[in-house]
Symmetry: C3
Amino acid sequence: MTVDLAGTAGHTAPAGEFAALYAQAQRFYAHQMRLLDTHDTGRWADTFAENALLHPPLLPAPVRARAFLAGYVRRGAAHRRLAGGRLDHWVGMLDVRPQADGSLHTRCSALAYLTPAPEGPRALHVYVMQDVLVRSQGEWRITHRRITRDDLA
Amino acid sequence: MTVDLAGTAGHTAPAGEFAALYAQAQRFYAHQMRLLDTHDTGRWADTFAENALLHPPLLPAPVRARAFLAGYVRRGAAHRRLAGGRLDHWVGMLDVRPQADGSLHTRCSALAYLTPAPEGPRALHVYVMQDVLVRSQGEWRITHRRITRDDLA
Amino acid sequence: MTVDLAGTAGHTAPAGEFAALYAQAQRFYAHQMRLLDTHDTGRWADTFAENALLHPPLLPAPVRARAFLAGYVRRGAAHRRLAGGRLDHWVGMLDVRPQADGSLHTRCSALAYLTPAPEGPRALHVYVMQDVLVRSQGEWRITHRRITRDDLA
């Protein structure tokens, strides 16, 4: 599945509804990335639907998001040891397209940076995340995430 | 024309209306900058009103925004060859002041960065964009943009 | 007082109300940081309640926010001379938790960067700000701010 925000205007939500969805999406990303950066993997997993798919930059096809988690954390710890600091993310440039079925198609950028680095925080990569979010029991959860890395595109 | 957000509180919009306008402005900038960075000049031009004015950092006076486009893309390609990478923008620090006439006065920062660079994305400049947005046919369009560069101010 | 957003879901505001509060908080931070960066200390002070407390990274306990201002500006000027450029802030990653008493508990990141630097803007530190905002006379004001610096945590 490909989510191409550029090619689709999405469902036209009323202004008030769009504002509500956009604010919820912004909080979702600020919160989710903080869970990722603090390795709160249990609660991070809970931001993905049970059978959510994740398509990372270097894999040929999507994998199960929750199962991918444990590996990420292990690799992340190794990566941090190599890089010499903590890995943090800064999300921005959010575009949200409400769909007629109630889901959200989103696109945002995530800057991965190292902190502390000897000379202040150091930018490593900018990722683009294209997500499908679905609401269940009052919470948004990702059902599909595609991550691309700008320098590999 | 000068848009001084610091000096004017703007029209006081009801909370719900302000939220709607702020969310729309955020999506507008995320979308517009992506069009710029992918050189989708046709759709980028469409984010400016027909006779919109653009006042870039190094020019003494505003120029026609749409006519300025073709030159920007040509210069941009040359700049990227020199700089050795792709030029991307990250927008944030958005302030929105709804005006009594229905227009929006906005102020935001745009970080221009190079990606890929040998050692990860590299910050080049921070610009400040002060825009006047007007709505026509359901879409926001810029009628006036003044860009200043922090290191020239 | 500690504001732990991770541990508290906060009051569940209706979607429209949450959107309004989130948009107001975003504008608040874009505006407040600009006042800080332009040394508009009078208007910056006014974004804090009269008896607001501020807990900066290197102090053992909170201090009076407004009284701390004059010292910050003096130190800031000296710091800029040493660092060789202007100090600016970029705020993002905002989480907002409306409370039952009408206040807001927020958490956001603030990147402090130097501009101009010889080779473009240079990132110095990422701070995390955890604030309590209270509304009075139509304006949000901070009553408590705790600032942590990522590389000291």
